[in-house]
């Protein structure tokens, strides 16, 4: 939990990509086809939050298993280095300009590895404090990433057509229970493979 919180908080602070999003993206991109189709079918629009939550659970489970094994400093160092390297590669995968430079991704991955190793090697009650701190950081980072995405999502002025079409009417405006002729934008389906839609900054 401390590692996860540290990685997510560092990513949010440096305006880098969320490690959980990157892990979920990898699972979506390379997961077995049948499983992906099953997720699309059964979870519908809830698929992304469930995938993110599953990625978090997998990380926590791996950390829990590691915590049960005897401490070996050299092995822990190798694991930390592996986590940092793999984490950086993961964060660069399918990244966009607004997902931060490689240094920010590396910092987030290293923070995650450091948080994990620090908790593994801490005795009670310090490990519990670190775990609680990680949970707080995770929540704060999630909120910060959401705020940043909302800021970036503000688009510019409304583009105009050269020759606008006449108003969209078909004479069925009062038919009972029928779908609107033009689907409201906020009800229009969104299905894609991105854990979160990329936010394109026109300034870059």
């Amino acid at each position: 939990m401390a590692g996860l919180g540290a990685a997510e908080a560092t990513a949010a602070l440096l305006r880098s990509r969320s490690p959980l999003d990157a892990a979920g993206q990898l699972a979506t991109d390379v997961g077995p086809h049948a499983l992906v189709e099953l997720v699309v079918r059964w979870l519908k629009e809830a698929d992304k939050p469930v995938i993110r939550a599953s990625a978090a659970m997998a990380v926590l489970a791996a950390g829990g298993l590691l915590g049960r094994s005897p401490r070996r400093p050299l092995r822990d160092l190798l694991i930390a280095s592996g986590v940092a390297g793999a984490g950086t590669a993961l964060l660069r995968r399918r990244a966009v300009t607004t997902d931060g430079p490689v240094a920010a991704n590396l910092a987030a991955a290293v923070a995650g590895a450091a948080g994990t190793v620090a908790t593994l090697n801490a005795r009670r009650p310090r490990d519990a404090v670190l775990t609680a701190l990680g949970a707080v950081l995770l929540l704060a980072a999630t909120a910060a990433q959401g705020r940043r995405r909302a800021e970036l999502a503000r688009t510019g002025s409304t583009p105009l057509a050269r020759d606008p079409l006449p108003a969209a009417v078909d004479g069925a405006e009062h038919w009972h229970g029928v779908s609107p002729l033009i689907t409201p934008v906020d009800e229009f389906y969104v299905t894609d493979v991105n854990m979160r839609p990329p936010v394109v900054d026109l300034a870059h």
Binding site: H33, R41, R94, D170, A172, G177, S179, P197
Partner: protein, 262 residues
């Protein structure tokens, strides 16, 4: 956004330059290939965009037999044969319903060819239009889906009443939508239980690429009833009755609901 590859002149356009190329409005239904019978993974919108033809003509593709690879900012790619675009048109879309695209819908720009399923129609968050002769390892192709472009099959949906609902016996208005882009919907038929197909009333057609609303009054005796719907496209294609899963070529079958007047 850049136009690259096997072209006479490579182009690089800012968002403002793209908007100044001359935007046109068009009405069309966008359908997800994962949409199932009765689902809402489709929507009808008034889109705003630049015709792909005018954009590509500026760059001058070296061959009409080549492909257009559309690339998203995160590297996602999708291929459309240029000859398909000559038949179906296609746009670099920048707006929906009078507003810029939202990030979820692909801001700043996405490619949309009416009549092609969503995952085959082009990239959202568009960063590159690339002309190339060689086959491209598209995202969905690597995931086992059919090589595109996959055309939207004629399909219809019952909006009202809801499946499984309890209704009053007697006259009941049944309403819904049907779509068959790019040719349009010519007829919609409704059948109750094992009865014959009877034609429904169609609302005016906004555009052949748009969905078309329909209604049909039915008279139900007390009991449990099945109501089915099908459509016929303007090109004569009748909605396929065989029930198929969305993978790998799009769903087929008749949307059927059950209502209880007991």
């Amino acid at each position: 956004m850049a136009v690259t590859g096997e072209v006479g002149t490579e182009l690089s356009l800012s968002y403002d330059e793209l908007l100044n190329l001359g935007l046109v409005e068009f009405d069309a239904v966008l359908v997800c290939v994962h949409n199932r019978l009765g689902w809402s993974r489709l929507g009808n919108a008034r889109w705003l965009g630049v015709p792909l033809k005018s954009l590509l003509d500026r760059a001058g593709p070296s061959s009409r037999q080549a492909n257009l690879v559309t690339r998203a900012v995160d590297g996602w790619e999708c291929t459309l044969p240029l000859r398909e675009l000559e038949q179906s048109g296609g746009y670099v879309v920048v707006g929906m319903k009078g507003h810029p695209l939202t990030p979820a819908h692909g801001f700043p720009a996405r490619v949309f060819v009416p009549g092609i399923y969503g995952q085959y129609t082009g990239a959202k968050w568009l960063t590159e239009l690339r002309i190339q002769s060689a086959p491209n390892p598209d995202y969905w192709l690597r995931r086992g889906w059919t090589r595109g472009p996959l055309r939207v099959r004629p399909l219809s949906r019952i909006d009202h009443p809801a499946d499984g609902s309890r209704v009053t016996a007697g006259a009941l208005p049944v309403t819904g939508v049907a779509w068959a882009p790019p040719s349009g919907v010519r007829e919609v038929h409704v059948a109750v239980d094992d009865g014959d197909w009877t034609p429904a009333e169609l609302a005016a057609e906004l555009a052949p690429t748009s969905w078309r609303r329909w209604r049909h009054p039915v008279d139900l005796a007390p009991g449990i009833h099945r109501i089915r719907v099908r459509c016929v496209a303007a090109d004569g294609q009748v909605q396929d009755a065989v029930l198929r899963e969305p993978f790998p070529g799009g769903v087929t079958g008749h949307h059927t609901i059950t209502v209880n007047t007991g």
